[in-house]
Symmetry: C2
């Protein structure tokens, strides 16, 4: 009886969600042979997660426990537990006797989120620069190389996941357990939601160049520089996402008034 090597028992590794996402509206349990069979709540958790991140459950919309449970062919118990976990991941907001809603995407929350993320990942860089192991560094450089060649080939498909992986590995290398839990267990899912729904295809080109410089700084054990570069890198991402979010909300507002007029 031997358990997996991931550090976080609470969560899935982000790279695993890439292709598991294309199967909504079905009962899960069979087709096993997967190592899964953990618990029903955990299984539907990742499904609801991706539904929210992709916007299939629209931001701000009400979530009905019964309907969700029926959709996945299970009872309300596990559904409820999944919802509470989603609350911890900030993808859902719950109120007693009122129910759960998908988190709303607002500019001010985006700024709060990125401001916090910036500080935390800056910290992660500083720690990683002094504590990263040769193996971890090699893995990070490999990932970077893969992304760079993919970019050169115009392969934009796994860009998003690759970026998540990049930050993920640095966070892991920081070695601070509570920092890891805060970022990965608490902030990263909401972050992915913002980025998925406010994505900008042009950005990756520059982003990967920034990644390279960050990795170089870490390799040289220059934590201060790595932290600075990371904070700038994240600020770039924030600006980008903010612009897209603003126009997205402008569109929504326009559509709203149109509907009201008719």
């Amino acid at each position: 009886m031997l358990k997996q090597e991931t550090i976080f028992p609470t969560d899935d590794t982000p790279s695993s969600v890439a292709h598991a996402a294309t199967s909504p509206t079905n009962k899960v349990k069979s087709l096993a042979s997967e190592k899964s069979s953990t618990t029903l709540a955990d299984q539907i958790l990742v499904q609801i997660q991706t539904s929210i991140i992709k916007g299939e459950l629209p931001a701000g919309s009400k979530i009905n426990e019964q309907a969700l449970a029926e959709k996945y062919g299970i009872s309300r118990g596990p559904t409820r537990e999944a919802l509470q976990t989603l609350e911890r991941q900030r993808l859902v907001v719950r109120a007693p006797h009122v129910g759960a809603r998908v988190a709303q995407l607002t500019v001010s929350e985006l700024n709060d989120l990125y401001q916090l993320r910036s500080v935390l990942e800056g910290m992660a860089c500083e720690l990683a620069a002094s504590r990263i192991t040769p193996e971890q560094l090699a893995k990070l450089q490999d990932l970077l190389a893969v992304q760079e060649t993919a970019l050169a080939n115009g392969d934009t498909y796994f860009q998003e996941e690759g970026d998540v992986d990049f930050h993920y590995q640095i966070i892991q290398a920081s070695g601070n357990k509570h920092l890891q839990e805060t970022l990965i267990g608490g902030l990263y899912h909401l972050l992915r939601m913002y980025r998925y729904q406010c994505t900008n295809k042009n950005r990756p080109v520059k982003a990967i160049a920034e990644h390279r410089r960050i990795v170089e700084a870490i390799a040289q054990r220059d934590g201060e520089l790595a932290s600075l570069l990371m904070r700038r890198h994240i600020e770039q991402g924030r600006k980008n996402t903010e612009l897209r979010l603003i126009e997205l909300q402008a569109n929504a507002a326009a559509k709203e008034t149109l509907a009201n007029i008719s």
Copy 2:
């Protein structure tokens, strides 16, 4: 069937009713009888919380859902939900099909926790220095004054709660919602557990002097200084707690070996 009166909702207002004078933020709602009935899970949550923080449920010990539920005269459903919330607060560690344990207090986790806290509260100070409102500042200064006079009178009772309130108010003044949630919803309960079980009576004298300087820096809108002072202040607290924790564990180890010999 079941009734208890020491109930404040999920995690707002960390200080108890001890010195309500220092926290006039409460809406007037609390005076209208008890209107307590939010939800059973929330009610027992705070009870288990304090049991854990005080060590009545020893660090590292197993938690039996059934037994807990019976102890409070409720069913396993709400108990389970409370446990999941406690997991988010890092007071409990859960594993599928295995159950829940009270978090363990270790030196390395303590250091991780304080390292993270230091960064986050430094950030809070910087934000607070630029965004605190006159009312919030006045409240903060009032709190400080109360603590100072209490200290002058040798009144050491509410020291602990007062300190929590101090940090709490600064975090509130930062205005960053995600930062607040991370610190208060995620880290602060575990912090209180460490401090309660590794307390040092001598420290408050110096701590309050440090508080004063931090408040002054904030009042002068000097975020950089406030952040620096706060990080030093927290580092002092870490050292203190670490020493106590080490000797506490040494005692436990000694008792262990003694038991094994006999």
